[in-house]
Symmetry: C2
Subunit: 348 residues, 2 copies
């Protein structure tokens, strides 16, 4: 397989290098063709590389960056003052062709703005969207977008998200004529916000999109659609609600079944069997665990940019690196650009 | 206990009298002080009462209504043409003092509009909100609003929801100084939509509200707040996502653990024990089952109106009737009106 180089914003996210560096080493160890450029403060990164195997180190370079974009910074201000930040330098490495993709767990708004500025949107795309492929109940997958890149969306943006999501479902999930739905508060035509109703009217007229109508929140993970489209605010709240629910269920499964204040006599074999069964059940839910599908792709750009959850742990950040590798190998931006030519209405 | 009369829109919801009539009979059987006015088409309702005990029948009256508001009707049109519909007549019974509350599983927008028109909002309230009390992870409860009465909300409406939610948490959950949060896509001040940021600025200045800041979707059920405020679109999508997740987990728990195509030898006692443990786990999750907390209260009116889920089954619709009884007994509208006087900024 051909070599592959990714740029990581090592300083982004809630834990910075403490998470990104071990995750980078984990990814290097499991992918022999991978090279990584760790962008950030060498004084924070280098100590974490002290005892690392020399073969791994040979595939890793630290690219110095003097500052970091705070996760609570206003995107517009952050972008103006972004020169020399780890996020901007990581994106510049992609722009200059030194890296094939960039991964960051930093400020979403700033990442979106800087990526648009440096890597540029594909022709015909107004605003890139954050997209993720979520597992559904029937063990298939659903492409969901936008997950938070655009808090305010008009109908044109929603239609473009539908087109990009549809192409993504074809390319990544290998589906023919994927079903596309708009997330709404009812399945009836009259329901919801006017932007959604306008987008529905446009999608009905789009011959290349298999638009199936509105779906509600409870259908997000039932597999009734291959692509679910919503604005970034609703998408983000919904995704985080799903994550919160999964974590709650996993913790309820693992917690003791009875009130700990009440002493109950239980034979050792019953306890052991209970634990064994719970472990088996936890495994059945593990494909829904948010850590397993961390890393949303900023779709609609001329290059690959992956946004990791800010609170990602080492395992989850390593999954985001894996996502970036897959997106590069699948040549997602190139394929989407090619399909968009055919699908999007001509601007003239 | 004093007698209590409720008006039921017997024709509303996905299943109409097939669900509402058996639920009504169930509620009458378990509440000897309850009287019900079933509003709808006698030809559809009466056959369902054929074999019913005469004592129950003595506490039930059928109030004829010649038409129904369709669940997919545009609210504005539906309201204009609402004369003689089961929903409108049920609300009129409350207005005339013949019933103390109304329960409907019909068109949310129409119910909201008609309730505003007939029962009138409390002084100082621009728009009533749909509110529900959801169970959280720590076995407490969270007041969540708006769940779909207002798809588009400005900051003033969000602040009023916060005030009403706070009063509801005091009255229903018996909390002192309940914590109030705004649902947003990040906890940082700069995040989210401008309406939410404006509402946050106003809530920080409100001395009688214990405003704790933004929370994200994953904190909806963690118990970090007693009141969660959002606009009706986001609230509805989120609530339905939660419901979908709970149903999915409950069905995964109950489904066979192994691939049914593969024949596996398992001893009878292992199978039996597996079933026993799953039943116990299902019970632990049952407090999260959407059927257990069906019925959102339309808060901010001079009377009590309960909106049931359109897809509610008999059990769930009976829970909505129960909610109406509790709201009447707690004198929610009166108490909220009294507290609003003190809490809301004076309009002059």
């Amino acid at each position: 397989m051909t070599r592959l180089t990714l740029a990581l914003d090592a300083m982004g996210g809630d834990f910075g290098p403490c998470v990104t560096v071990p995750a980078a080493l984990q990814a290097l160890a499991s992918n022999p063709v991978l090279n990584l450029l760790l962008v950030g403060d060498p004084a924070a990164i280098t100590p974490l590389l002290a005892k690392v195997d020399s073969e791994l180190l040979s595939r890793l370079d630290v690219v110095p960056a003097e500052s970091v974009i705070a996760s609570d910074a206003r995107p517009s201000q952050a972008i103006r003052a972004s020169r020399g930040t780890s996020m901007r330098i990581a994106l510049e490495l992609v722009k200059e062709g030194r890296a094939q993709a960039c991964v960051s767990a930093g400020n979403t708004g700033a990442l979106m703005g800087l990526a648009k500025l440096l890597i540029k949107p594909l022709e015909g795309i107004e605003r890139p969207a954050l997209v993720s492929v979520l597992p559904h109940q029937q063990r298939g997958k659903t492409v969901v977008l936008d997950l938070g890149a655009n808090v305010d969306c008009d109908s044109t943006m929603l239609v473009q998200f539908a087109v990009m999501g549809s192409v993504m479902a074809e390319e990544v999930l290998a589906l023919t004529n994927p079903r596309v739905a708009l997330l709404n508060i009812g399945e009836e035509e009259s329901k919801g916000l006017s932007t959604i109703r306008d987008a529905a009217a446009q999608l009905k007229e789009a011959p290349s999109i298999n638009y199936i109508g509105y779906l509600e929140g409870n259908d997000l993970l039932t597999g009734k659609t291959d692509v679910m489209v919503c604005d970034g605010f609703v998408g983000n709240v919904t995704l985080k609600t799903v994550e919160g629910m999964v974590r709650m269920f996993l913790s309820l499964l693992k917690s003791p079944a009875s009130d700990p204040t009440k002493k109950q006599k239980q034979s050792w074999w019953l306890k052991w069997l209970g634990r064994w069964l719970k472990t088996r059940l936890s495994k059945r839910f593990s494909h829904l665990n948010p850590d397993q599908y961390n890393g949303a792709c900023l779709l609609g750009l001329r290059g690959t940019v992956i946004k990791s959850h800010g609170a990602a742990n080492q395992k989850a950040f390593a999954v985001a690196i894996e996502q970036a590798m897959q997106a590069v190998r699948r040549q997602l931006p190139e394929r989407i650009a090619a399909r968009l030519q055919a699908v999007l209405p001509k601007s003239d």
